[in-house]
């Protein structure tokens, strides 16, 4: 959550600016926000009315760019590059970083081949340098590089903006996690009860046994 703390002020800054700007200054703001090296969240800016009003205007291409950074990946950009603006190097870097975050949503072990394909990287050294310098050292992911198995094991990845329709899936995961946890707690309590019962039984048996021994001793004596 460190990353959220770091970018909270930046988000506030751009949301305030977007709310107060009009017309041609908005595209400049969008370019600035999507180039800022410390910002990885864009849905708050997207939600500002003045930004949403770019829809259908001559500047809607900037709105599409913002959407790309909020929800898209490098492959999405390549697929639609004809209808999107040319990205500057800072934007390319950020979109690739966001692509790693999106991939980290799909699984905790990311194969090098898949990463290299998604990020347009041609060799392992270049891929690992990117993951080390631009992802792990930037604080957006934490994990271990496994050269032998040619994969990146993700231990932590910052959350990306929620794509429309993803909320249901998240609610579902949370509910099943809650259910699993409840069941786990229940079964732990049952185990504890069972252990208590067994230990009671054990004690009773032990006592019966000792009584019988005493009785036998009395008989003998």
């Amino acid at each position: 959550m460190e990353i959220e703390r770091k970018q909270a002020d930046l988000i506030d800054h751009y949301v305030k600016q977007a709310s107060s700007l009009q017309g041609s200054s908005l595209p400049i703001l969008i370019l600035e926000a999507t180039s800022n090296p410390s910002l990885f969240a864009f849905s708050e800016i997207l939600a500002v009315p003045t930004i949403a009003q770019l829809e259908g205007t001559g500047q809607s291409v900037y709105l599409n760019m913002l959407r790309l950074f909020a929800y898209g990946t490098w492959s999405d950009y390549k697929k639609n590059s004809a209808s999107l603006l040319q990205l500057v190097p800072e934007q390319v870097l950020k979109l690739k970083q966001l692509t790693v975050l999106s991939m980290a949503e799909t699984g905790k072990v990311l194969p090098y081949d898949q990463l290299m394909q998604e990020l347009d990287v041609t060799n392992v050294r270049e891929l690992e340098d990117f993951l080390i310098n631009e992802c792990m050292y930037a604080g957006i992911v934490r994990g271990k590089l496994d050269q032998l198995r040619r994969c990146f094991e993700v231990q932590f990845a910052a959350g990306r903006d929620m794509r429309p329709g993803q909320l249901g899936n998240m609610t579902h995961i949370l509910s099943s996690w809650l259910a699993t946890s409840d069941n786990l707690l229940l079964s732990i309590q049952e185990k504890i009860k069972w252990a208590d019962t067994m230990s009671e039984l054990d004690k009773k048996q032990k006592k019966d046994y000792e009584d019988k021994v005493e009785e036998a001793k009395k008989l003998l004596s």
Partner: protein, 302 residues
Amino acid sequence: EEQVLIIREKVAELYESEGEWSKAAQMLSGIDLDSSMRLVDDKFKLSKCVQIARLYLEDDDSVNAEAFINKASFLVSNSRHEVLNLQYKVCYARILDLKRKFLEAALRYYDISQIEKRQIGDETIDEEALEQALSAAVTCTILAAAGPQRSRVLATLYKDERCLKLKVYPILQKVYLERILRKPEIDAFAEELKPHQKAFLPDNFTVLDRAMIEHNLLSSSKLYKNISFDELGTLLGIAPQKAEKIASRMIYEDRMRGSIDQVEAVIHFEDDTEEMQLWDQQIFGLCQSLNDILESMGNKGL
């Protein structure tokens, strides 16, 4: 003896003015400080020892300087003369530095950098001198062999606000955060080093080489489960054999956990933690994050 003393001091002064530091030191060394012929007070003895040591240190001659600093160490504990005491401390730190006892030197430089007074006797302590001592402390800590004590000193320096201003701060930050240092950064750092800090060690590595490779190996072990020596060599900007040699020594000295598969030419970094512990840590981290979220929900009134 009195006359000899005066002549020696005069000649030493002349040598000093010509930058002949060792000759000046030798000239003063001829003064018999333990003479039974006349009474020599401790302050005079201490000042001479420190003066001779400082002269030898001007020529980076730690051996001769140390001989006089050792003599001075018997006198300094009873000395009330702050200027002399400070000069003694600086000499001692520099001797440790020259002898590549970097961690001890760093602690003494750091101690000197924390002097509060700005006027001691007729000497003014300027900020620049303190900053130099602080920078020397950072440099020596970075050059010291990796280990728990070095980590503690790194943490102290990293949290010391004054370090933010130092030219060496970016390196300090990366070393403290256990991040890999790339060749351009290492070369820039090398420019700031003194000759003895770039000297070759018996194993044909320079002091800087060894410190940087060890640091980068430890940093790599935080990022990789395993890595081929070829790739490690590329990553660290050194020959794979060099990387393997230093890695094997660090593993042997138990300063890094891991194993080397020479057939495959791969190093496996071992995480100390058992899987079950790792599981506990992951669950702990999960609960921590969950708490963070609940807390921020609370702060937002949700």
